[in-house]
């Protein structure tokens, strides 16, 4: 809901009065809200006392954009001064939905509307020095874009330090998926590929494993730069896992390229063309081979729900009102270092 009203710039009054005024114009007298405003840099800053209220009013030029969220589903991480690029996106998306309607763009807010390109997973079970990165490869538009090489690393063994052969990332292709995620870097040591340890395997073997898994590549690395490691605390537990589980429905379900599978069915399904007809995804065979076609339909639907799919985009709109829900919202705000690594969400 949008409201427009005027204030006396020279006499803004107290924060409590202003808060009451907001509840009044929105007709939400008993709802606790968070109040924020956009400053001249476009940052979203909170209004919760007289001082920042006065500051906000004094910087209005001439319009002051106020943003109100219900307290229970507020996004605290949206506030801050240091993530300008990202927040500009957030703000413009939330505050100026009209622009996007003109561009025929889907409404931003639900994770289903984003296509994840990468994620850090299993933070809770991995040693802090390791990082498990999942790269999602859709279609052929963006190359995975990295190279690996042989090398040697030092391991601590019962006999002291030992030099052992290892596999390292040797180069990132500019503009490639790997580079754009910022989660992988040159000289990171590759420890596992999709859960399988690479130690003892040759460079060619690891290459083949990565290419075989290229549609859903999970690489566990020991980053060369250990300063950006995740610092573990209670809030991280399971959170990243949640984000990887989140899946999106495809706007056109018969295009397989937009289909995201669950953890166990992670690669894309093959396609069949029968009698020169339309290409179709090959379904999974039912345990018994009778009435395959009907079963296949049910199974698909079932699978979608399991994976948290929401079948229609209209539903998303209804759900999304008044809240910002983002892929990274579940991440601990302490992990600013991670956020600094660049855009990890693209539309």
């Amino acid at each position: 809901e949008f409201r427009r009203f005027s204030l006396e710039r020279s006499k803004p009054g107290k924060f409590e009065e202003f808060y009451g005024l907001l509840q009044h114009v929105h007709k939400i007298p008993n709802v606790d809200v968070l109040v924020g405003y956009t400053d001249i840099h476009g940052d979203l800053l909170p209004i919760n006392n007289d001082d920042n209220y006065h500051k906000a009013v004094s910087t209005a030029n001439p319009l002051l954009r106020i943003f109100i969220q219900r307290k229970e589903d507020a996004d605290y991480s949206a506030f801050g001064t240091d993530t300008m690029t990202r927040k500009k996106n957030v703000l413009s998306n939330v505050l100026r939905p009209d622009n996007h309607k003109k561009k025929q763009h889907i409404v931003i807010s639900m994770p289903q509307d984003f296509r994840p390109v990468s994620s850090i997973i299993d933070v809770d079970i991995l040693p802090e020095t390791h990082r498990r990165v999942r790269l999602y490869k859709y279609g052929t538009d963006k190359p995975l874009g990295f190279y690996i090489r042989d090398g040697s690393s030092v391991r601590v063994t019962p006999h002291g330090l030992e030099k052992v052969p290892g596999i390292f990332i040797s180069r990132l292709v500019p503009g490639g998926l790997a580079q754009s995620t910022g989660l992988l870097a040159v000289n990171d040591e590759v420890l596992e590929v999709n859960g399988i340890e690479v130690s003892g395997k040759s460079l060619d073997q690891v290459t083949d494993m990565m290419i075989a898994n290229s549609r859903n590549l999970i690489i566990t690395v020991r980053p060369a730069n250990q300063r950006n490691n995740v610092v573990r605390n209670s809030r991280t537990s399971g959170s990243s896992g949640q984000s990887t589980e989140s899946s999106l429905p495809s706007s056109t379900p018969n295009i397989v390229a937009n289909f995201l599978q669950g953890e166990e069915e992670s690669d894309e399904e093959d396609i069949i063309i029968e009698d020169s007809g339309e290409p179709q995804q090959i379904p999974k065979a039912a345990p018994t081979s009778e009435s395959l076609e009907s079963l296949t339909q049910i199974e698909l639907l079932h699978e979608s729900r399991q994976n948290g799919f929401l079948p229609s985009s209209e539903m998303n709109l209804n759900h999304s009102a008044g809240s910002i829900s983002m892929e990274y919202e579940v991440q601990d705000p302490d992990h600013k270092s991670l956020e600094e690594d660049g855009t990890i969400i693209t539309l």
């Binding site: 590929v193 690479v198 290459t207 494993m209 990565m210 009698d275």
Partner: protein, 936 residues
């Protein structure tokens, strides 16, 4: 791994025991192989992997000594162990000089195992002869024959002129074991008395010495020289320093090459056989690898196509026999073994039962057919016997040992396709891989090769009297003739062969010679595509009119693909009379009954320029031009290198190469290899390359009616299925065969499809065509639902039929990082009971591992390391049999056989018994001298 078939790669030494009738071959990689009667073979490997320089059997023993190029000596024994003989290394030894002496002082150049069996005489570069005790290899220092001691007995003026230099030959006196003949490289020859430690005779040769040979009675010996001459010397008690009886340059008067080895063999009729290696006129025939046999007025210079490593003569070894009476000459050339029958007029060659030169033209593909019906087997043998009439009927002369292996369980054929357009049929049933029949496809085509271009066409009066022997000829005139795919139906005798220039031939077995026209059709695989230009080789030109074919497989249909790219897959259905073929552009189906093309399908991706222009063929043509220039070099008859100098150069070159390799390796370590990680896409090159074709009678459209179908898999992970309508037999000639595309499956991981298989209702693979008709297989279950197995390089996937839904998969590459290179279904029987057997997938990966994967549940059963992963050509050459065995090339000329089955195992098992030792040792001692040729 059970046995190695074929000819050892890079042989370097030969030995023979007339006592055991066993032959030994050493190689540059340190292997030593013993051969006797067919089926009797042993193999040993020196740990050092150094070149074997010399092999000497110990007289009257199951023992032999090898000299390696690191100057080490090794004693090997044949000992019986659990019922069979085994070859084992017993001792090793390296001669050491006093501290500070140069390495040449102890560099062994000649080895003489004494007939007493107790000592070895070791001639060295320094001219000293050391004596070591056997089997301990203890040096008996007090018995060393120094060159100073020898020179003491030689006239002063001769000594001044020339020092002794290295010991070139050591020969024991045939009648008196206390005397040995010592030949030094500068030409001095002395007879040394071991009892009294003195020279009894000295023979002052003026030419550089190459080798020595005693006449059987010990009254004369013969020496051969660097200038191409040989000299006879009398040995009698009256003259202690005789002049030569005769000095002769057989191919004079112009300068000749060295005679490096010579035999003087006596016969009952008085005329000796003089057999010598080399000696050709240096300028005009210096590049020939020849061995001349002279018997009275008969003289032939056998001309070998590769360097002669060594040779020996098989002659009467009976100690009581008065004459040598040679029966056969055995020649080890670099690329083949040639045996000449010296008893039959015309000296024909003997067909060896083993050591076949698989690579007489380079092998380009192989195909194995198990359990051949007796009828077909006999017809192939009969066709082959007509080709082998020029061989001698002599029984194989090397017949030591006894083969105690059980008879092979079935008749197996291995077919090898070669670069020169031939297909060779090998009996692969047992330990001896034996050539049955050779088929040439060349006659169908017009080639540049001049049929009169035969180096053997020399007139009667030609001098020297050269005669080409052997089959090794790696020079192919037209690489387009190369055979790429072979398919033989063992029930009908239909054979399909496909080659490098897109040619597909269908043949039938005919027991008689015949002259007929080969029907010719063209398959344009680019039908609906436009604007493409093929830049590869042209298609082969065909002969017009009838062509005469010899008995055997005779082509009756030729299909030529357009563009004429390499045929990459081939399938034949003998019951439906259809042949399917695929290239990098698409695939086609031909009805060889009606001789009509049924359909073609282009699989080419429009952006795939690389496949279109045929870069592979450009590589080929480069190879061709290289080959032609080699050929020119060969013909120009430039003087080849001297034996010793030549091999010396070769080893230097080798060393230099090794050093270069090491350097590049180190460089590579500095700048490590990178591998790009990128998903495959539909636009990659060669996605349309047809990798596999498969005929199946299955449920393609609906689950009530089954129909013939053709399946094709491509490099880009696409599977095409065509529904075929084959008219019933009575109307087979009247109605056309029809085909319609029914399904197209795109594997999203886009890895190349390397295998397609349909499993019947009982999950058994569908039988081969005509297998059921011949009561050799149960009919497939057509009641239950069929399943489709698609094997890509990365995954195994089972789909249901007719409605395609995915049922099971095994993601091999994602789990193990290996890729499927070869896959086949093998039937594994139990060795305990006859009534249990199962079908499994046998898979060779790019790491050289072999994995057994169960059907239909795709569970990995077991894995064996088999081929080194660096051995790319070995992995590429691997062929599996239907019963869990397989073959792969370990060198261009050798197949290694392996068995995964406990039931079907083909390996040598043999016994070598020591014949009773006669009390009259010294008469026997020729055996020791037999092999003493030194090569450096």
């Amino acid at each position: 791994q059970t046995v190695e078939h074929g000819f050892p790669h890079q042989p370097s030494a030969l030995g023979y025991s007339p006592f055991l009738h066993l032959m030994a071959i050493g190689t540059r990689s340190g292997a030593i192989k013993l051969y006797g009667a067919p089926g009797v073979e042993f193999m040993g490997l020196h740990e050092e992997n150094n070149t074997v320089m010399q092999i000497h059997f110990i007289p009257d023993q199951c023992q032999l000594v090898t000299l390696l190029d690191d100057n080490s000596l090794h004693l090997w024994s044949l000992k019986q162990h659990s019922g069979a003989s085994e070859l084992r290394e017993e001792h090793r030894f390296t001669l050491k000089g006093p501290p500070g002496s140069p390495p040449s002082a102890t560099q062994v150049t000649a080895v003489l195992p004494h007939s007493s069996r107790e000592v070895l005489y070791l001639g060295t570069e320094s001219g000293n002869i050391f004596v070591v005790e056997l089997p301990s290899f203890r040096v008996l220092e007090d018995r060393t024959i120094t060159s100073e001691a020898v020179l003491h007995w030689v006239p002063e003026d001769y000594c001044n002129r020339r020092s002794c230099e290295l010991v070139e030959a050591l020969r024991e006196h045939p009648k008196n074991p206390d005397q040995i003949l010592i030949g030094y490289s500068r030409g001095l020859i002395v007879l040394w008395d071991l009892q009294n430690n003195k020279v009894t005779h000295h023979f002052l040769g003026s030419q550089q010495l190459e080798n020595l040979y005693w006449q059987r009675d010990g009254s004369k010996f013969i020496s051969c020289h660097y200038d191409g001459s040989y000299t006879q010397w009398p040995v009698s008690s009256d003259n202690r320093h005789p002049e030569p009886l005769e000095n002769f340059v057989p191919y004079g008067p112009f300068p000749c090459k060295a005679i490096s080895k010579i035999y003087w063999q006596t016969t009952k009729n008085g005329l000796p056989y003089i057999i010598f290696q080399g000696g050709m006129p240096r300028a005009s025939y210096g590049d020939r690898h020849s061995i001349s046999v002279v018997h009275g007025s008969q003289q032939t210079a056998f001309d070998f196509t590769s360097r002669v490593i060594d040779f020996f003569i098989i002659f009467s070894s009976e100690p009581t026999a008065e004459f040598d009476d040679p029966s056969a000459m055995v020649v080890l050339a670099e690329e083949e073994l040639v045996v000449i029958d010296l008893k039959t007029a015309g000296w024909p060659a003997v067909h060896p039962p083993y050591l076949a030169s698989l690579h007489c033209s380079a092998i380009t593909c192989s195909h194995h057919v198990s359990n051949i019906p007796l009828k077909l087997w006999e017809r192939i043998i009969s066709a082959g016997s007509k080709q082998n009439i020029h061989y001698s009927n002599m029984p194989w002369p090397i017949d030591g040992g006894t083969n105690i292996a059980p008879d092979p369980p079935q008749r197996d054929l291995l077919l090898t396709g070669h670069e020169d357009g031939t297909v060779r049929f090998w009996d692969a049933s047992g330990v001896c891989l034996h050539l049955l029949y050779k088929l040439s496809t060349v006659r169908v085509f017009l080639t540049d090769a001049d049929p009169n271009d035969n180096m053997n066409t020399l007139g009667e009066d030609e001098w020297p009297p050269l005669r080409k022997v052997g089959t090794f000829d790696p020079y192919s005139d037209d690489p387009r003739l190369g055979i790429q795919k072979i398919y033989l139906c063992k029930y009908s005798g239909y054979l399909a062969v496909a080659g490098t220039a897109g040619q597909v031939l269908v043949m039938e077995l005919n027991d008689e010679d015949a002259e007929h026209v080969v029907d010719h059709a063209e398959a344009d695989l680019l039908q609906d595509q436009e604007g493409y230009r093929w830049k590869g080789h042209e298609k082969l030109k065909t002969r017009d009119g009838p062509v005469r074919f010899e008995a055997g497989f005779q082509p009756f249909v030729l299909v030529q693909c357009q563009p004429p790219a390499v045929v990459t897959s081939l399938a034949l259905h003998s019951e439906w009379k259809l042949v399917a073929f695929g290239t990098s552009h698409g695939f086609g189906l031909f009805d060889h009954q009606q001789k009509r093309l049924v359909f073609v399908k282009c699989t080419l991706h429009p952006s795939d320029q690389l496949a279109l222009e045929g870069p592979l063929s450009r590589v080929k043509s480069l190879k061709k031009s290289l080959r032609q220039s080699f050929r020119r070099i060969r013909r120009s008859r430039v003087s080849s290198r001297k034996r010793r100098g030549g091999s010396g150069n070769a080893s230097e070159v080798q060393e230099a190469n090794a050093k270069f390799d090491q350097d590049t390796l180190q460089e590579m370590e500095l700048a490590p290899v990178q591998r790009k990680i990128e998903a495959r896409s539909a636009e990659d090159s060669f996605t349309g390359f047809v990798r596999t074709l498969y005929f199946a009678d299955t449920f393609l459209r609906d689950s009530s009616r089954h129909c013939p179908s053709l399946w094709a898999g491509t490099n880009g992970g696409t599977v095409y299925a065509f529904c075929l309508r084959v008219p019933p037999a009575e109307r087979r000639m009247d109605e056309p065969v029809r085909a319609e595309q029914a399904k197209e499956i795109q594997l999203m991981h886009r890895a190349p499809v390397v295998g397609i298989l349909v499993l019947d209702g009982r999950s058994n693979p569908l039988p081969e065509p005509l297998e059921v008709a011949h009561d050799l297989s149960k009919s497939p279950d057509m009641q239950g639902s069929h399943q489709l197995l698609v094997v890509s390089e990365e995954q195994f996937k089972v789909f249901t039929l007719p409605k395609v839904s995915s049922k099971l998969k095994l993601k091999l590459t994602a789990l193990e990082g290996c890729r499927v290179r070869k896959v086949t279904v093998a039937n594994f029987g139990s060795c305990k009971t006859d009534d249990y057997s199962e079908n499994d997938l046998t898979v060779l990966t790019n790491l050289g591992d072999i994995q057994i994967i169960s059907l239909p549940f795709l569970k990995l059963q077991i894995r064996y390391p088999c081929i080194r992963k660096e051995d790319v050509s070995g992995i590429a050459s691997c062929v599996f049999t239907k019963y869990g065995q397989g073959f792969y090339l370990i060198s261009p000329s050798e197949f290694e056989r392996f068995s995964l089955s406990t039931k079907w195992l083909v390996e040598p098992r043999c016994i070598v018994d020591i014949p009773e030792v006669t009390s009259n040792n010294h008469v026997h001692n020729k055996s020791g001298m037999e092999n003493a040729i030194r090569k450096s």
